[in-house]
Amino acid sequence: MKIEGKKENGHIVVSVEGRMDAISAPEFDRKCEEWIAEGTSVFIVDFSGLEYISSAGLRSLLVLGKKLTAKKGKVVIAALKDVVKEVFSISGFGSIFTIVDSVDAALGRI
C-alpha cells in the first residue's frame, strides 16, 4: 500500500494505492492520526488507485470517520472501483460515508 497526503486549506487529500488489508491498514491509521493531530479535520480519501480492501481497511475508515465526527470534521471517499466498490456496497459503507466519483467531485462537496 502506498499512502500520500496533500494538505490544502484545512483539508487533506489522501491517496491510497494498492491494498488496504490487515497488514497495511495500521499504517493508514497512523498517518491519519498524525494529520488529525496536526489539526486536519476534513479528509478526502482518493481510492482511485486502491485495488483491494478488507474489513481491516473498512475498520480504519470507520475509526477515522468516528474520530472526525467527534471533531466536527468529515470524510469523503472518492473514486471507488471494482472490488473495493463491491465491498463498500455489500457492507453498507456506501451509506455511512459520502461517496463521490472523483476527487474533484469531493472538493465540490466540502
Binding site: 488489508d21 497488514i23 478488507s54 481491516a56 475498520r59 475509526v63 472490488v83 463491491e86
Partner: protein, 532 residues
C-alpha cells in the same frame, strides 16, 4: 512417483505477517484455476478474513499455525478451500451479522470479517476435528447472488484436483500399517499430511501424492506393496465406485489419474529393469573374472616340445563353477587340473577361484596328487559353511619319462587314447568330492604314457550335454567320437569335440559349463634329437 494432483497447501505461523504469503498463494492458485482477477480478490477477501479471525481469536492466547488447502470442488469450476487451525473452537458461521443499516455513529467497529466470508463463498462449512477448527469455503467462479459484477467471468479451466470434500478423511498414527502386500485393494489415498513408506520397494510417499491408484485401476485389485506410516498421517480416500462416478463427471481428472498410473507403471518397470540389468552386469563381471583366471594363451609353453596342451571352458548362460588349470611345477613336471564346483552363480565362481588357487599353491609345493587333494580338502572343510563342494581331477606329467601321477576327487575319469581310433577311461580310484568329508583319503595312481598318447579331461557339462529330445551326449558317444581324433593335435581335438557337442545339441542351450582339456605326450623331444 510424484503425482501432482493439485491439492495445494500452505502452512504458516498464525501471524498477520503470514497473510501476504497466504494471499499470494491464493492469488496464484486462483489464476491457475482461471478465476478472474475480480473474483480472485473476492476470494482473497474471504481468506484474509478467515485468517485474521484465526490470528485474533483462535490463537488469541497462544501461538500456532494455520494451514490452507486448495482443492478441487465437488462441481466443475468450483474450488474448496480448507483453512485449519488448532486454536480454541470457533465457528465463524456463528458470528453475529453486522447491522448494515447503521450510520457512522452507531456502526460497530468489527464484525464484518465473518460477514464477508459468508458473502463470498457458495458454501461455508465448519467442523471441529481432532482439536482443530476446519473451515471449508466452497467457491465458484462468481460470488453467489452476484451483484452485476465483472462483465464476463472466465470459466474455470481444466486444472485438476481431487474433490477432497467428497472424499473420506482418515487419520493414522506413525507406525500404522495402511495396507499389506496382497491385501485386496479397494480404495486409493491422497496423502494430505505425513508420509508413507513402502518397505518392499523402498519407496516413500509424501504429502500431496497419491497411492493405491494402481489397485483401483489395474485389473488385479491386489496391493503390490505394503504401506506403513512414517509419520502421523492424514489421508483422503476414495473407493472404486466413487472413482468411477468421479470419472463420469470429470473426464479431465480421469485422464490425469490414468496418466499417473501409466507413469507409475513405467517407473516401476524401469526400476525393475535397472535392477535386473545391474544383476546381469554383476554376473557378467563375475563371469569375466572367472574366465580371466583360466590360462587362455595357447600354446602356453611354446618352447616345450615334449607335450602339447589345449583347453577350453564353454560357459553356460549362468555363471558356473567349471575350471581348468595347467602349470609347470618345475622344469620337468607339468600339472594339469580340471574341476567343477557345485552350484552356479557368483558363489560358485568365488568358490571355484578359491579351489583353483589352493590346488596350485599345494601343487607348487611338490606334493603328490593325492596329497594335494588331501590338503586342499582339509583346507576347504572348516571354512565351508555354504556346503559347496568341488570335483577335481589332478594330474602331474613327468615330461621326460612320460609318467603321469594322478588323483581323482569325485570327477568323471578322463579318457586316454588306447591305440589308433580308440579311447578308454583312465583307470584309478575315484575318490569323493573335495570339501565334503574331512580326512577322506585321496590316493595317487601312476601310469606311463608313450609318445603320441592323449589324455582327454572333461567335465560332465560335456557328457551331459543335451539335445532337444533330452538325450545326453553321453560317455559312450564321447568315447566313440573321440576315437576319430587320435593322432591329431590337441587344438584340433578340442575344436572338433566342441563342434561335435554343438552339432548334437543342435541349438539346445547348454545347462552347464562345458570344459575340455586335451594333453598330448610327444615324448622327450630332446632325447630323440640327442641322438648320436
Amino acid at each position: 512417483m510424484r503425482g501432482n494432483l493439485p491439492m495445494f497447501h500452505l502452512r504458516l505461523p498464525a501471524r498477520l505477517e503470514s497473510l501476504d504469503e497466504f494471499l499470494n498463494f491464493v492469488s496464484d492458485r486462483a489464476a491457475e484455476s482461471g478465476f478472474s482477477s475480480f473474483r480472485t480478490k473476492e476470494i482473497q477477501l474471504a481468506v484474509e478474513e478467515a485468517i485474521v479471525n484465526i490470528v485474533r481469536h483462535a490463537y488469541a492466547h497462544s501461538p500456532g499455525e494455520v494451514e490452507l488447502r486448495w482443492m478441487k470442488g465437488a462441481d466443475p469450476g468450483q474450488v474448496a478451500i480448507e483453512i485449519e487451525d488448532a486454536g480454541v473452537p470457533f465457528d465463524v458461521r456463528s458470528a453475529p451479522a453486522p447491522n448494515l443499516q447503521a450510520g457512522l455513529d452507531d456502526r460497530k467497529v468489527g464484525g464484518l470479517g465473518a460477514f464477508f466470508i459468508r458473502q463470498m463463498a457458495d458454501k461455508v462449512g465448519y467442523r471441529r476435528e481432532a482439536d482443530k477448527n476446519i473451515l471449508t469455503l466452497t467457491l465458484g467462479t462468481r460470488k453467489p447472488s452476484s451483484e452485476p459484477g465483472p462483465s464476463e467471468a472466465p470459466r474455470a479451466d481444466d486444472s485438476l484436483g481431487f474433490p477432497l470434500g467428497s472424499m473420506t478423511r482418515e487419520t493414522h498414527n506413525k507406525g500404522d500399517v495402511l495396507f499389506k502386500a496382497g491385501d485386496r485393494a479397494d480404495k486409493m489415498y491422497y496423502i494430505a499430511h505425513g508420509s508413507l513408506k513402502l518397505p518392499e520397494i523402498g519407496k516413500v510417499v509424501k504429502e500431496g501424492e497419491v497411492i493405491g491408484e494402481m489397485g483401483i485401476l489395474s485389473p488385479f485389485h491386489v496391493r503390490t506393496a505394503s504401506a506403513v506410516c512414517e509419520e502421523d498421517l492424514e489421508a483422503y480416500t476414495i473407493d472404486k465406485e466413487d472413482v468411477i462416478r468421479l470419472f463420469s463427471r470429470d473426464s479431465a481428472l480421469a485422464f490425469q489419474l490414468v496418466n499417473l498410473c501409466i507413469k507409475r507403471f513405467i517407473e516401476n518397470l524401469r526400476a525393475e529393469t535397472e535392477a535386473k540389468e545391474r544383476i546381469q552386469s554383476e554376473l557378467r563381471i563375475a563371469r569375466e573374472i572367472q574366465i580371466s583366471m583360466l590360462p587362455r594363451v595357447f600354446p602356453p609353453f611354446p618352447d616345450r616340445t615334449e607335450f602339447d596342451i589345449f583347453a577350453v571352458m564353454e560357459p553356460a548362460k549362468e555363471v558356473g563353477g567349471d575350471f581348468y588349470d595347467f602349470f609347470l611345477v618345475d622344469d620337468k613336471q607339468l600339472c594339469v587340473v580340471i574341476g567343477d564346483v557345485s552350484g552356479k552363480g557368483v558363489p560358485a565362481a568365488l568358490f571355484m577361484a578359491i579351489c583353483k588357487t589352493l590346488l596350485k599353491t599345494e601343487a607348487l609345493r611338490g606334493l603328490s596328487p593325492g596329497d594335494i587333494l588331501d590338503r586342499v580338502n582339509r583346507t576347504l572343510i572348516p571354512d565351508n559353511e555354504t556346503m559347496m563342494f568341488v570335483t577335481v581331477f589332478l594330474l602331474i606329467l613327468n615330461v621326460e619319462t612320460g609318467e603321469i601321477r594322478y588323483s581323482n576327487g569325485g570327477h568323471p575319469p578322463p579318457l586316454i587314447s588306447a591305440g589308433p581310433g580308440r579311447f578308454e577311461s583312465l583307470e584309478g580310484p575315484t575318490g569323493t568330492v573335495l570339501g565334503a568329508v574331512e580326512g577322506y583319503p585321496y590316493t595317487t595312481t601312476t601310469r606311463i604314457l608313450t609318445p603320441g598318447d592323449i589324455v582327454f579331461l572333461f567335465t560332465d557339462g560335456m557328457s551331459e550335454a543335451m539335445n532337444a529330445d533330452q538325450e545326453l551326449f553321453s560317455d559312450a558317444r564321447l568315447i566313440s567320437r573321440l576315437g576319430e581324433e587320435t593322432g591329431k593335435c590337441t587344438a584340433d581335438i578340442i575344436r572338433h569335440m566342441r563342434a561335435a557337442v554343438q552339432a548334437f545339441a543342435d541349438g539346445t542351450p547348454p545347462s552347464d559349463d562345458m570344459t575340455m582339456v586335451a594333453l598330448a605326450f610327444n615324448g622327450a623331444a630332446h632325447n630323440v634329437s640327442a641322438g648320436p
